[in-house]
Structure formats: structure tokens, C-alpha cells
């Protein structure tokens, strides 16, 4: 692992508390990480119920290994790695294969913008045929309305699973790129390509939302 994001001061304190058997410290971790852990597990196994079992096993794995945790990655990266490993094994045992291509989606090479938005021929080929909208002038309230946030949430839910996990970890939860790569077992290039596709589709959803609101 080439991670340079190592255990933070908060992690060191949490690990100390976990080693002491501090239940509140453990439950705060559950609150923060459980939803993401379930999503990751669900990519590899057949049902939500099995994903819950995987997550439970992962927590036990973390606790049993806590004395050996050396802080070479962040705590949250470590726990998602445990989830990924257990879920993959469990999925294989279920006879369920989840090849990278099916998790990543088959649209990784698709254009981020409709080709019609660019001039097709002439000296200006490949340049904008109509300029993209300037959102900087949009009222802040429009960007933060519940309709807009719902549109973004729906766009993320509609993404292929690995694209959705990457954008959630990076942009919803604010993880660093190397943490996401380690947690989800992705190469640097794959992480970046998945993030680009995800952001491009969320941007497009936001653009449609802005147009609807502007014309209403």
C-alpha cells in the first residue's frame, strides 16, 4: 500500500479508547461509517441482509485486530478495506461474481458533454457551439434548494455502484484520493476516471435542474 494518509490524531485517540473498551467511541464510529460500509458490502453480495452480516463481521475483525493496528492508513480506510475483503470473499462463496467492469459501469469512455454542444467541422471544430451557462450568477438559494439537492442525490443513486461510491467518499464525505483508492482497492487512474464520470453526470443533472428552474 502506498498510502501517505496515515492515522490522524483523532484516529490515535479513537484507537486508544477502543483498546480500553470504550463503547461510546465505538458507537460514534458506527454512526459515521456504517452507512458507507453497507453500500460497499452491497456491491459484492446478493442482498442487504448479507451486507449487514458482512459489516458486522468487519466490525468484529476491526476490534479483534485493534491491538495490531499500526496506523499506516487512516482508521476509516482500514475498516472499509476489511469490509471490501470480507464482502468479496462472501460474494465468491455465494457464486456471485462482481467483475470490476460491471461495478464501474460501461460508460467510462462516454463523453462528458453531448457532442452536439461542440462545432463539428471547420477551423473551430471541437469548440463550443453554444456557450455553457454561467452558474456564478445563479442565486445561492437555487443551488441549495431541496429540489436541487434531491436532483443531485437521484443522479448519484443512478450511477453504476463504483462511480457512486467514489463520488460519495470524495465529494459527500470529503475523503482524500489515496484513502478512497485504498478503501475500495482502486488504481489511481481508475479512481480518477470513475470520479470524472460521476462528477460529469452530476454536473449534467444540475444543469438540467438549473434550466428547469430558470424557465419556470
Amino acid at each position: 500500500m502506498d498510502a501517505t494518509v496515515t492515522a490522524s490524531g483523532d484516529d490515535v485517540e479513537l484507537i486508544r479508547l477502543l483498546r480500553l473498551g470504550d463503547e461510546a467511541a465505538f458507537m460514534s464510529l458506527v454512526e459515521r461509517l456504517q452507512p458507507m460500509m453497507l453500500r460497499v458490502a452491497r456491491m459484492y453480495v446478493s442482498s442487504h441482509a448479507v451486507a449487514e452480516e458482512v459489516v458486522q463481521e468487519a466490525w468484529l475483525g476491526l476490534l479483534q485486530g485493534i491491538d495490531r493496528f499500526e496506523g499506516r492508513s487512516s482508521l476509516r480506510t482500514w475498516i472499509l478495506r476489511i469490509v471490501t475483503n470480507i464482502a468479496k470473499t462472501r460474494g465468491q462463496r455465494e457464486g456471485r461474481s462482481a467483475p470490476f467492469a460491471s461495478l464501474a459501469g460501461d460508460d467510462l469512455d462516454a463523453p462528458s458533454f453531448d457532442p452536439d454542444r461542440f462545432l463539428g467541422t471547420g477551423a473551430w471544430a471541437g469548440h463550443w457551439s453554444t456557450l455553457p451557462g454561467d452558474w456564478a450568477g445563479a442565486p445561492e438559494a437555487r443551488l441549495t434548494s431541496s429540489e436541487t439537492l434531491d436532483a443531485v442525490r437521484r443522479a448519484i443513486d443512478a450511477l453504476p455502484p463504483m462511480q457512486a461510491q467514489v463520488i460519495r467518499l470524495r465529494d459527500v464525505l470529503g475523503w482524500a484520493s489515496e484513502e478512497v483508492r485504498n478503501a475500495l482497492d482502486l488504481t489511481e487512474t481508475n479512481q480518477r476516471v470513475l470520479l470524472h464520470r460521476a462528477r460529469a453526470k452530476v454536473r449534467a443533472a444540475l444543469e438540467r435542474e438549473m434550466e428547469i428552474e430558470a424557465s419556470s
Binding site: E23, V30, Q34, Q56, P111, A123, W128, L131, T148, L173
Partner: protein, 90 residues
């Protein structure tokens, strides 16, 4: 905006490498090409700003909640690991 000449990026090419740019995954030469295009193109500047806004708006979402059943199950895992006798549960 200037017309494409030599190795300049087109707008259509630029939008596909925005994430490479913001993630710092470009060579110095590619970065210079990207910045040169951006400096001359209002459309691509607007799109860069749209991507930044997209990231900001996405950052306002929150992750799901843990269900009460799940919370109880995980508390049970913890207490068993800690070696609590079942009767010691409060």
C-alpha cells in the same frame, strides 16, 4: 479563444481532462496547455466553475442514518468482544 493550431486543446478535449487537471495528474506540458486554453476561453472557464459548483453542492448531501436495529446489533458485537457477560447488559 483562439483557433486550434498545433497541439492546442479543443474545448471538447478539455472537458474530458478537467478531473486530471484538478487532481494534479497532468504533466507540466499538459497542465500548461490546459491553462493556456482556459485563459482564452470563456466557455471552458464557465464549465470549470460548473464543476466546482457541482462538487460544492454534492458536499451538502449527507450520508444515510444507522437504523436502531443495526445500532443495537453493533453494540452487541462490541460488548461480546469486550467480554461482557450477557447478564451484565444494561
Amino acid at each position: 479563444m483562439t483557433r486550434t493550431s498545433g497541439d492546442d486543446l479543443t474545448c471538447q478535449e478539455l472537458v474530458e481532462v478537467i478531473t486530471d487537471f484538478v487532481e494534479g495528474a497532468m504533466s507540466d506540458a499538459d497542465r500548461a496547455r490546459f491553462e493556456r486554453h482556459l485563459g482564452e476561453c470563456a466557455g471552458c472557464t464557465a464549465v470549470m466553475s460548473q464543476f466546482r459548483t457541482t462538487i460544492e453542492v454534492t458536499g451538502r448531501l449527507t450520508e444515510g442514518q444507522v437504523s436502531e436495529t443495526q445500532r443495537d446489533a453493533m453494540r452487541e458485537v462490541f460488548r461480546r468482544w469486550r467480554g461482557d457477560a450477557p447478564a451484565a447488559r444494561d
